[in-house]
Structure formats: C-alpha cells, structure tokens
C-alpha cells in the first residue's frame, strides 16, 4: 500500500513536470495515469496494493469535488446578468450530451455484439 502511495505521488509530480516541459494542454495527473497504466501493462497486470488502495478510495471519489462545488456557490456573482441562460445552456446541453452519447454508445455496442455472433 505504501509502495503504491509513493509511486502514485511520484507519477503525479512527474506528470506535472512533463506537462510543464512540453507545454501541452493536458493535466499532469492524466499523464501520470497513462504512465501507471503503461507500468501495469508492462508487468502484465494491476498490482494488488494499487488495486486495494484504489478500491478503498473509489466510492468516495465525489468527496474530492466538494470544495470546488462550494466554489460555485461562492462565485455565483461571476455569472451576473447572464446567469439564467448560462444555467439553461448548461442543463440543456449536458442533458442532451449524456442522452445522445449514452444511446449512441449502446446502439453501436449492440451492433458490434450482433456482428460478432452472426
């Protein structure tokens, strides 16, 4: 477990350093994730310590976003006069994106499954 913490923290730092050096528009943690996935692939599977650490944290993933959510309440005045249609745009667009993406993904996955069994 401690070994995993060390590796994950080191990869988060390394990811930030790589993003800084290459000046690419990607969060450093995402680069760290890809590096860790590459390590798992090279070693032929997920390390048991990493799996148990992740599985302990995963159900509480939303906890990490609460300070940002409080920030939305605290900076609501940034939206000023436009708040109503910004809110409508967010709600309508996000709902449409979720519905269309989900339905299309399911339809295409079903087609793939049918093509395989046929």
């Amino acid at each position: 477990m401690i070994k995993t913490v060390v590796i994950a923290v080191a990869l988060a730092i390394l990811g930030d350093a790589i993003v800084e050096m290459l000046d690419i528009p990607v969060p450093g943690a995402a680069i760290g994730m890809m590096l860790l996935a590459t390590i798992f692939a090279a070693r032929g599977g997920v390390d048991a310590g990493a799996a148990s650490l992740f599985d302990a944290a995963a159900p509480h993933f939303p906890l990490f976003f609460i300070p940002a959510a409080v920030g939305v309440v605290a900076s609501a005045e940034l939206l000023s006069h436009a708040w109503l249609y910004v809110a409508v745009a967010i709600v309508a667009s996000t709902a449409a994106t979720i519905a269309i993406t989900g339905m299309l993904a399911q339809r295409l996955l079903n087609l793939l499954a049918k093509a395989k069994t046929a």
Binding site: T4, A12, L36, I66, A69, V86, A89, A96, I98, A105
Partner: protein, 235 residues
C-alpha cells in the same frame, strides 16, 4: 468573535474537518432516503458547508486553502484511475470502434448544444468562450477558454456546474433514455461531465467508472481541437 472560536476556524485543517463531516452526514442522508438524485451527497454537503461558512463568517478563499489537502490527493486518485482502466482494458479494446465514433459525436454535440442558446441570444464573446469547452475537465477547459478570451473564474464555474449537473442527474437521464449498458452509461458520463461524472460512474460499477475515465480523457483532448474550429465557424 471570541478568540477561542477563531483558534478553531482559522486552523489549517478546519475546512477539511467541515468537508469530511458534511460529506459523511450527506452520505447518511442520501442512503437513508434511497439515494435520490436531488439528495446527492455533493449537493447536500455543499449546502451544509455554504451554511457553515456563512455562520462562521469564514471566506471561501480561506476555506479553499484549508481543503488544499483534498485537491492534492485528487491528483493522486486520478493517477490511480490507471487501476480500473487496466482492469477493464479487454472490454475497452473490444469496444474500441464504437467508442471512437461515440466520442466524436458526443464531443461535437457537447460543444454545439452549449453554443446554440448563447449564439441565438447574441451572447458576448467571453461567455461563448467560457461555455464552449464546458464538458472538458476543468484545467483543460480553462486553458482552451483563456486562448479565446474566456475568463478563468467564469469558465471554472461553468465547467464545475456542468460536472455537478451531469454527475447528479446523469444516471436519471440515462435511465429515461433507455441506456442499460454500464459501458455506455460510463462513457456518456465521462464525455459530458468529466471528472465529476466519472466519480458518479464509479458509484455504478467498476466497468462504468473505467469507461467514464476513458471518455473524460479522450473528450478533453478532442475538445481542445474542436472548440477553436466551432468558434471560428460561428463568427
């Protein structure tokens, strides 16, 4: 304010204590009422914390500084998303082509539907720039918006609101749309509402979470490429 109270609320860990307590209470309330979308722990905890900040007169900036530990730990959790991605790699490889097509369609829909309303109402350019990358993860979206004249603070508010809305109501919307496949559910949540949608997907299943992580990463990259094109087409 008495000095003894300020000793507690100015402590660098006070914000963390309040956040974890509010989250624990919100989780209990959520489970108690059968996990309805409207009582999602992020909403309830946010309301409890906003009330606490109001009651203690603690500024958001001070609170945010006191919760920096959570923000730093989030980077480590994101690195650990390699675990579900690697575990579900066989499913991801198998679903490669459907997911690539869905990604392209989802990313275009996310940008175009975000811009339709502001465009129709003749919104100012800085609002359009803040809305366009709303489905990309916050750090990426702020980078895209700033290049097009969108202010960082406003973009962050838009992006996080998008994530919260998708994370809370996404599963209900997917059920209404008849989406039952966990791969499709997760991918939709990740593409439309980034890390917060991904966090919600892990409450569905490991498969949904893995596909959400994939959708989140790929959509952040594609949004970077597509937003400048969409804005150029509109002007």
């Amino acid at each position: 304010m008495t000095p003894s109270i300020s000793l507690i609320q100015d402590h660098p860990l006070f914000g963390l204590l309040v956040t974890v307590l509010a989250y624990a209470a919100a989780m209990r309330i959520w489970r108690r009422f059968g996990m309805p979308a409207l009582f999602h722990p992020v909403l309830v905890a946010t309301a409890l914390i906003a009330l606490t900040l109001f009651a203690t007169d603690l500024s958001y900036e001070a609170y945010f500084a006191q919760t920096s530990l959570l923000n730093e730990a989030l980077a480590v959790v994101i690195v650990l998303l390699a675990v579900p991605l690697s575990r579900q790699m066989h499913l991801i490889v198998e679903a490669g082509h459907p997911m690539a097509l869905t990604l392209l369609a989802g990313s275009v829909v996310a940008i175009m539907t975000a811009l339709a309303l502001p465009y129709a109402f003749g919104a100012e350019d800085h609002l359009i720039a803040a809305l366009a990358p709303k489905s990309a993860t916050a750090a990426v979206a702020v980078g895209i918006a700033e290049k097009l004249g969108g202010p960082a603070g406003l973009t962050a508010v838009v992006v996080i609101s998008t994530g919260i809305f998708g994370g809370i109501f996404g599963p209900t919307i997917l059920a209404a749309a008849g989406v039952e496949d966990d791969r499709a559910k997760g991918f939709a949540l990740g593409v439309a509402s980034h890390a917060i949608g991904t966090a919600r997907a892990f409450q569905i299943s490991d498969v949904a979470g893995a596909f959400a992580s994939l959708g989140m990463i790929l959509n952040a990259l594609l949004t970077t490429a597509l937003v400048p094109i969409a804005i150029a087409l509109m002007r």
